[in-house]
Chain length 442, copies 2
């Protein structure tokens, strides 16, 4: 008998993943007459929008993540397991954990999110930094500040230049935000820190395979973003594709001709795919998936033929207004969680009415007050964009308000807390490049 | 020609290590008419007294460490290198860095500090956590919070008990403080966080090979400390020696008979030795060293026959009042730094007058307001000890006052910022046990 501490007779809700979607669902079910089990490989909920700021040394780990247990502390009906779901037994209605333990459910909410994808070039994982997990961000932070140290102690001009060159692959929101934060850090925040190098000499290069950065936004906003990046000192290169990456740099294809960019720090922000176990769900239920492995859900967010299984958050593929798939935004995830939780509270296994997304806009932060925002067709840029976006969100999400204010602080101010610029390791470890998920023993 | 950016003719002071001793020396020389080069393997100065609080998830990395560059930011005459000193060329008056670069000095201040010693059992490094570096503390923090998660997800009673048992080897100040913090964390701060386990069921065992914990203190204070630990729920075992340690526990020798303690988390706080390069200094200068590798210095803190070489901080072995060697305290290190800096400012290569330590007391924190303090023969315990000690230090050290207040906060309050309880890694990494110095790439 699977043990999830369920009281006899109460419906058992199992939530896989404690990102924005999973945690929001757990919170909303926290006082319902059901037993909730939340399973996540991490012990923390990550405030993804701040992750790039951790990498830039502007925000500390603790400001960007909070233990799941702390968030669900007073939910008596909730069991939190730091564990990995490896399979779903759809017929027996059980999730299977990595050690074989099974957790039975009456309602299943799958919200396990996306992970970095290297499009088959998995060896790139060892020489680049992704930016999906806290370990990724700490890894990247250590590399960035390590690179400045390496440049300072280097006595060879060429080697210095390599260490002071930062390449960001991928012109989506993450790539743009990282590039902007890197330029802000290197060119505007480190003055006077070094004796042998001038951080403002460092180069930040953003490589985008598409024809314009931030493709999901309108052309004019894309152009504004590119200009903002250039003002900050980022070299924006559109229409270039990375063909090879190693620990010394990136080889790119520029309209057929090959070019080499030497850089000791390469950030990979070019692709994501659904977390592995999503495929197991598709197999078990026969649900369709898209190229990124997202589950094609019905308008009510359930999986075809399985009213007891809901898929929410980034891994749910659902058409929004205008036939465009809903974007992978926290606001979408949280609204989907509320939609499903409401139905379960009503006694249903899952939602039966179509999910409607209330557009709260999409924001991309470039740095030092530069940002672009698209909200219900309205296009904004600069501090106005930040203010509007944050205003909307502070209004809608109470719980996250604290962090959003923090976000605003960091967006509008320079790099702050020097403590966040500490490199955990010794020098030797700066040069090493273990996979992103390696963490201090832990 | 070694490059340390020295202006022609100005005396060159090289400081090895940026702990309390090295950083204090650099600060005091910051406005003197000399060129200062500070070399440390880390990019940060560590506030050692708080390190155990990082491990306990009470203090964040950033609160416990600050970048050396930030501390010396406005010292125009200072060059900071994150680099490793591998040798000293005494005759040519140069320090040799790990890549062969040489830095010339007119005055050398060696303050490279102590590192964890396993008394020849180096394999124990892979199965225990030391507590000398920031990486150690993050490592231990990840293991402690990982252990609670493992216990919560475990379905086997015996395995749960293993994960909920914490063994601390070594009854010195570090061991006592870690044990106290662990008991506070486990038994008083985690209530309600878990469903399957009761953290207060966890066991914290302090193993001391000597006849009493905190041997440097008086017998009555040792007894008070032991009682305080017991009140907190720590099992204090004196006169027991660890004979074998593996990932599942510790084998101890109790007066000839062998006993096994099963524990998934073993903290090693039993020994320290001078950092490796100290031996190179002894070889080069012919200076004597003690069993822990400390350099036997002259009363003026110089090395015999080398007025231009001063050794300060923990690695300096010098008799204090009563013929007892001076303790490895921040206050000793900082006073020694001031003594040497004063002489160098006067134009001397190093001090020529004997160093006199102004006793500011020694403190050991047990937890939840319990502490003992010995100051100029005066013995105090409880909050009184904390108040007196901190009063004295807030009075004497301005710069560190901020952190000491923080220290006071953490000593007298419960565990705070939940953000510091975040585990960076995935579960898999909790079980792994790489060497302490492994850090997220960085």
């Amino acid at each position: 008998m699977p043990d999830n501490g369920a009281a006899a007779g109460r419906r058992r809700v199992v939530i896989v993943g404690a990102g924005f979607a999973g945690l929001a669902a757990a919170r909303r079910l926290g006082r319902a007459d059901v037993d909730v089990t939340v399973i996540d490989r991490m012990n923390h909920h990550l405030f993804q929008p701040l992750l790039y700021q951790v990498a830039a040394g502007a925000v500390s780990m603790g400001e960007c993540a909070s233990p799941i247990r702390a968030s669900l502390r007073h939910r008596r009906n909730s069991l939190v397991l730091m564990d990995e779901v490896v399979d779903f037994d759809i017929d027996r209605r059980e999730v299977v954990l990595d050690r074989g333990e099974r957790i039975a459910y009456d309602s299943l909410i799958v919200a396990c999110g996306m992970q970095t994808s290297y499009f088959g070039n998995d060896e790139w994982q060892n020489v680049t930094c992704g930016l999906k997990t806290l370990a990724d961000a700490v890894d990247l932070r250590n590399r960035i500040f390590g690179a400045f140290e390496e440049a300072e102690r280097s006595t060879d001009a060429k080697s210095r230049e390599e260490w002071l060159t930062f390449a960001v692959v991928g012109g989506g929101p993450t790539g743009v935000e990282v590039a902007g934060a890197l330029a802000t850090l290197a060119k505007h925040s480190r003055k006077g820190d070094y004796s042998r190098i001038a951080p403002e000499d460092s180069r930040v290069i953003l490589l985008d395979a598409g024809q314009r950065v931030l493709a999901p936004f309108s052309e004019s906003l894309s152009a504004k973003a590119a200009n903002g990046l250039t003002e900050l000192g980022v070299t924006v290169r559109e229409g270039v594709r990375a063909t090879a990456i190693d620990s010394r740099g990136v080889t790119i294809d520029v309209g057929g001709s090959t070019e080499r960019i030497t850089s000791r720090t390469v950030v990979w922000a070019a692709g994501v795919q659904a977390v592995g176990v999503t495929a197991a769900l598709a197999r078990g239920t026969g649900a369709d998936t898209d190229r990124a492995g997202r589950i094609q859900v019905q308008p009510d967010l359930t999986v075809p033929g399985h009213p007891e299984i809901s898929v929410i958050g980034d891994i749910a593929n659902l058409e929004g207004p205008g036939g465009r798939p809903l974007p992978g935004l926290a606001t979408v995830a949280i609204q989907q969680a509320a939609h499903v939780a409401k139905a379960i509270k009503r006694g249903q296994p899952g939602a039966t009415t179509p999910f409607r997304y209330l557009d709260k806009g999409a924001l991309a932060v470039i740095g030092r007050g530069r940002a672009i925002c698209e909200i219900r067709g309205l296009e904004l840029s600069g501090r106005m964009a930040l203010a509007t976006y944050l205003g909307v969100h502070l209004f809608y999400l109470g719980g996250e308000g604290k962090r959003l204010k923090l976000l605003l602080d960091w967006i509008t101010t320079r790099i702050g807390n020097r403590g966040s610029q500490v490199i955990e390791g010794e020098l030797s470890s700066v040069e090493r490049a273990p996979p992103g998920e390696v963490v201090p023993s832990g």
